[in-house]
């Protein structure tokens, strides 16, 4: 086995991950900005008017990516929190902490944009149906995770407590996803399934471009935040003084 083999485990240490994250941030932030502009252009200037909903359907270009990001990021946060707890890997726990505010923001965006779409489409701002209620619970789980962690002074104890909450709460994600199948709901069912693709190509393009933009934005922002968390938690470490000097 070669001694020069790329060792991924090396980057589980904050001392090695910190400079790597700094180099990666622009590689995600710049394409994210480009994709946001491109997605908005396709969504507003290329995608046609919907035959049933008129122009109001254009909210979906940001509503659906935000809703998906809220769920994806929760699962990712729970995985990192679980790995951090099980293997005592402090960088994984820091990643979970760094993901939580971004996930909460995307979940909040999905609820607000859903409400703004619900008013013209259904005639109501809000209904207590399974999809909307379970998404609201997701937002409360994020807020609970952030509040619980910030209420405990010892960082490693806060990581463990947060991991328990994140792992218990992950059961809510499949409930959100399947809620429109399991219960009667005002919310529409899945548009993209294995058997059907019920959307014009330009509409789907706008939505997936903005989904890509949201992913790249999330990665960039999480990398920035995890670097700050590392600086806050490891402020006494000699390596940090060398890196930030």
């Amino acid at each position: 086995m070669s001694k020069n083999r790329f060792n991924l485990y090396k980057y589980a240490a904050p001392a090695h991950f910190y400079p790597l994250a700094g180099k990666l941030i622009p590689l995600f932030a710049v394409p994210s900005a480009i994709l946001f502009i491109l997605g908005l252009y396709v969504g507003f200037f290329v995608a046609p008017t919907d035959a049933v909903q008129g122009e109001s359907y254009r909210i979906l270009f940001i509503h659906v990516p935000a809703a998906w990001m809220g769920m994806f990021l929760y699962v990712l946060m729970a995985v990192y929190a679980g790995v951090g707890w099980a293997f005592n890997a402090r960088l994984a726990s820091m990643m979970a902490t760094a993901i939580s505010p971004t996930g909460a923001i995307f979940t909040f965006i999905s609820l607000v944009t859903g409400s703004l779409w619900g008013r013209p489409a259904w005639g109501v701002w809000w209904v207590w149906d399974a999809r909307l209620t379970s998404t609201l619970i997701l937002l409360f789980l994020y807020i609970g995770f952030i509040s619980l962690q910030s209420s405990i002074d010892d960082a490693r104890r806060a990581d463990r407590a947060g991991a328990v909450l994140a792992l218990v709460g992950v059961i809510n994600v499949p409930i959100i996803y399947f809620s429109v199948q399991w219960w009667n709901s005002l919310h529409q069912g899945a548009t993209f399934t294995e058997k059907s693709f019920k959307m014009a190509p330009s509409m789907a393009a706008a939505m997936f471009i903005l989904l890509g933009a949201c992913w790249l934005y999330s990665i960039a922002v999480v990398l920035v935040r995890v670097r700050y968390i590392i600086r806050e938690r490891e402020q006494e470490a000699p390596w940090l003084a060398e890196v930030t000097a």
């Binding site: 908005l40 507003f44 200037f45 008129g54 122009e55 109001s56 254009r58 909210i59 940001i62 509503h63 935000a66 505010p101 971004t102 923001i105 909040f108 965006i109 607000v112 944009t113 703004l116 779409w117 008013r119 013209p120 934005y217 922002v221 920035v224 935040r225 700050y228 600086r231 806050e232 402020q235 930030t244």
Partner: protein
């Protein structure tokens, strides 16, 4: 920019622009909060030389 004019008069304009405004305001707020955190970290990481001198002078006065 015909489509912009069209959206300004469309009956759904307030919902569409409201959705995109909320989204980008929140994302911008997140970035601004991170910049603020960076500013605090930078300030904390490099204590002012005057502050150290003041502490030193105070302790000298206490000794005297």
């Amino acid at each position: 920019m015909g489509i912009i004019r069209y959206f300004a008069t469309d009956k759904y304009a307030v919902y569409i622009w409201g959705s995109y405004s909320v989204t980008f305001l929140l994302l911008a707020a997140e970035v601004l909060m991170l910049l603020n955190r960076k500013r605090k970290l930078t300030r904390r990481g490099s204590p002012q030389p005057e502050a150290r001198n003041t502490r030193f002078e105070t302790s000298l006065q206490e000794i005297q």
